[in-house]
Subunit: 330 residues, 4 copies
């Protein structure tokens, strides 16, 4: 039984609390938020106690691990406290928006030798995991290209955009991590292009909402990522891996599997699953399950602080590439 405390009480906090409440090997002992009523909303539904600080929490409860899904700029300080207390950490992506601060996090984690996982949940999606396993099994032969499409159903509020660290660090970072994980490589060259085509307020906030990224791997494998903040037909999530032996493609998912043919169109299907909570529900569950199992068996997690740092480095290079209109080499 792993006893969890959780920092933050937003959408991700709610999701993690619910998964922990359902997991027979996990217990939610506390939700930590200086804004106590907000923490209580979660403890009222999922159990555990609301605390204003980690110290409070430690005073009242035995804790094995902390889930960090508070705002990104609070991660470093929380990681410091939790690492110093010697507890395991599952930290939402990005660890931080500054590479220096990420390095501080890594130093803390390594100094205190606490288990650490970064929340690249998509790796745990059964279809994505099967894709990578089949690539590793040689089902597409030698890799030539990876193409990732990731388009949200609708843009977030401008307030979110402003604190997001920019489109590449907020969104593309997931695809960057998958590209590296699937190919088993880290890029030598990055080029990114971007536009504001969805919502001009995003542009006014200094961000983009439409992006294309090219990663070139040391082996010569080429990766393409395209992102949009708004796909009216649902959360569009596709990965295509192409190689000397063929191609693997993940398919989009729907809640209802019904096909309609009429005098207007044939084989029309319902919209895609709405967004990441729906599309990646299984992945979050699987992520927590792996985290618990790593803690229980004292084995390292499969996606750690270095994966978190690598993806951020590349996302920041995308940003630089966009600004400078040139490819960034590593």
């Amino acid at each position: 039984m792993i006893r969890f405390c959780l920092f933050g009480s937003g959408r991700m906090g709610d999701l993690y609390c619910e998964i922990i409440a359902r997991n027979p090997d996990a217990e939610l002992v506390g939700v930590i938020n200086p804004n106590l009523p907000s923490a209580r909303k979660l403890t009222d539904r999922y159990g555990g106690r609301a605390f204003a600080s980690f110290d409070d929490c430690l005073k009242h409860s035995d804790v094995d691990a902390a889930i960090v899904c508070s705002p990104t700029n609070t991660h470093l300080e929380i990681i410091r406290q939790v690492a110093e207390a010697g507890k395991a950490i599952l930290c939402e992506k990005p660890i931080d928006l500054s590479l220096e601060r990420v390095d501080e996090c890594i130093a803390l984690v390594e100094q205190h030798r606490v288990p650490f996982m970064v929340g690249f949940n998509r790796r745990f999606d059964p279809t994505v995991a099967a894709l990578r396993a089949q690539v590793a099994d040689g089902k597409v032969g030698d890799l030539n290209m990876v193409l990732l499409t990731s388009r949200d159903p609708a843009p977030p509020p401008i307030g979110y955009i402003e604190r997001s660290g920019g489109y590449f660090c907020d969104s593309t970072i997931h695809d960057i991590d998958l590209a590296c994980w699937i190919t088993g490589e880290t890029p030598v060259e990055v080029f990114a292009s971007g536009s504001c085509l969805v919502d001009e307020d995003i542009g006014k906030a200094g961000d983009i909402d439409t992006a294309m990224t090219t990663l070139k791997m040391p082996s010569g494998v080429l990766c393409h990522i395209n992102n949009s903040r708004k796909a009216v037909y649902g959360f569009d999530q596709r990965i295509e891996v192409f190689g000397s032996g063929g191609m693997l493609q993940t398919l989009n998912q729907r809640d209802i599997l019904l096909s309609h043919s009429s005098s207007e169109a044939t084989d029309a299907k319902p919209l895609l699953k709405h967004f990441f909570l729906e599309r990646y529900a299984a992945s979050f569950e699987q992520e927590i399950a792996e985290f618990i199992s790593c803690l229980a068996s004292d084995t390292p997690t499969s996606v750690d602080q270095n994966d978190g740092k690598r993806a951020l480095e590349i996302a920041l290079a995308c940003e630089q590439s966009l600004k400078e209109g040139r490819a960034i080499r590593f």
Copy 2:
């Protein structure tokens, strides 16, 4: 909170116990099986106590409702006891293999005015339910044809076949119920054809493993059902509704949504979901949820003893049609 007891401790019993254990509005108070160790296997995992008889159960616990998933030939006696005790009943299909005994069940249920639901779970599958809702909404115009394909991944043990009541009463009965439910009609003519092509032991046991059934509805709508005990590519479950305005088709489901193209074939996908526990998982959950909600709100269930009787009558007519080589008229 509805307090459930459950009769039987086989595959279906396990499934229902698990769903009840997870449902915040339900409580499992007892599992009833003269073979107590078998009942204890379930109570050890899902809570509640094991009882050798319903009387024992009533002595020790408050019970609101009974789930009946013991062997079919025990249903009548159990329904008698539960109805006399005034408790609600969720009974697996078929209620019984004899129409006379089904009529006895119906008489008991009506005499004691207990809520009753028969386990035609497929109606509660989100995709099947959406299909029917869209048919009702006129998405295919006036109905012309309904085609149902239902093929199991592998035949059950011969022991199961021998007690199954025959292929039509065991399997086709689900499709018959859906055909009636989707069209809103009861057939005026039934024709069935069958063969033993999958496993000759099924033939030796006097049954068939491959069947085709035609139902003609009063409106002239024609329904086709095909069944097989063995589809090597997984549990094949498709419904097609065709009408003056077009067609709706349910699509088969897979756990992993991955497509593979190679020098051998393109767009090859994984096998279908294995069998009904996997394919219809959501439907069982939904079925229990509706049952609980009907009990809580004191409203009738949407699939009752008369639906159970109708489907059995038609399944028995299929059997007769097969034996006599002629269409059976109602």
Copy 3:
């Protein structure tokens, strides 16, 4: 070079003339129709001369083969003339609507030893032919079921219906031929059900427009055929073969292969190819090519008078089954 004359100058006559005009191994020498202006419409476009009678045609031209696509009730007399002249015959289906008259045709063909092909063009469709070849190659193992869906885009004029010989002899006969050809068997039992749901004038003309047919083969293989005179989404032509090793399915065809996703629906595709002229264009070309190649090499055609008779016999049994409400055994 095979010199063709052609009887009839309707839609099928036009199609065959066009194919012959394009085929470098064929020459159109004459079109025969007592209504000469109608014949001239074809010869003006495709070459050859218009004749009022076969005798006229023979007087003026060397003829190797005759294509018979005049009204069905004229087939016997034409076959008599052509067979007596010792020329090869490609006859549209059905050969005749009376089994006795078909037997007369067969006797003539065999007495005069003329090459004979019946126009079951669908066998020559590349996809259908590939399906059968793969079945023969064991790609589905031992056959268990064959399902054929054949739905026209719109009903023909009532005048056509009245002379069609009924839905089974006019339409289902194609599917019956395919079922026998794919399975390599001739049914021992036939059951047909039918309704008039598309156009009540069809009912007034004594015919049906919606039909379901079950064929049981000597091996126990079960075949289902469903037909409709009106599918608003285009000409729906599907064959599914199911066996111990899996399933083969032909896919519907479209002129434009474009998929549309919007806030209304995803993966919506254009309507199916409009009707048989579009969907089966390649099959007619292939049929003529085989006929020419058989004549050139003096080998028998792959689809002859006996295939034509068998399909008619079964279609007539469907009609009888519908009228008498019982299965017909052979």
Copy 4:
């Protein structure tokens, strides 16, 4: 009736001759090749006479138009002769590999006011043309992204590679033209990345076989192109257009439309159409038809010398981007 002569007698020459031979509004009067026996191979099959030079051809025949599908480095000289003779020109892509020489061609065409079409055949494919028409009709709303996948089934001989002008000018140029044509824009920025992953001899010849290109349009629309010289599953040709109102995707094409499900995989389909001759057969026919119709009606062609120049300019910028590792701005 348009009288054609044709320069070159390779694969494209054969294709064009065959189309002209079949087109009732066209006549093949001559095939011009200094290597006369090579020209005769075509005239033996499709009619017309073989000539060693354009002068010879003009001496013996009336010519309305010339199709130029000789090696790229001969185009300029041929265009000079044909333009000076005042005949219409259909020139294969690329017009030339040097922008200066393309400008010379354009000057000649404009000076002599001869009709000119460049062979971007893919625009004439019915599905591609329907895609663009639907984009223009607003079916995807405001454009955000265009993605083009174009992968050959197998690399050409090294001799071809050496004379090809490089992968971007030989292959990507088709996709560049489509990207500009579909968006109605010319890029302001181009970035290309490439590798040699398919055949190391291509690398030794100084070329690449795997490429990814990003085009940024003045409106902010982003385009991605990926190319490979070898897709083992057939000629992979897909276009995806994404916008504020949804998405349009062209689907790959197969000769046989058959789906196979077994214990290994489900819905497996045959390989894609083999290569451009098969996949784009209709487009070449349509291209010639438009060319003839423009000549007959004295209207300009829809794809002219400026389209040819634009695509080359962008392809050359891709090459430069690859070499210099930076984005090229226009």
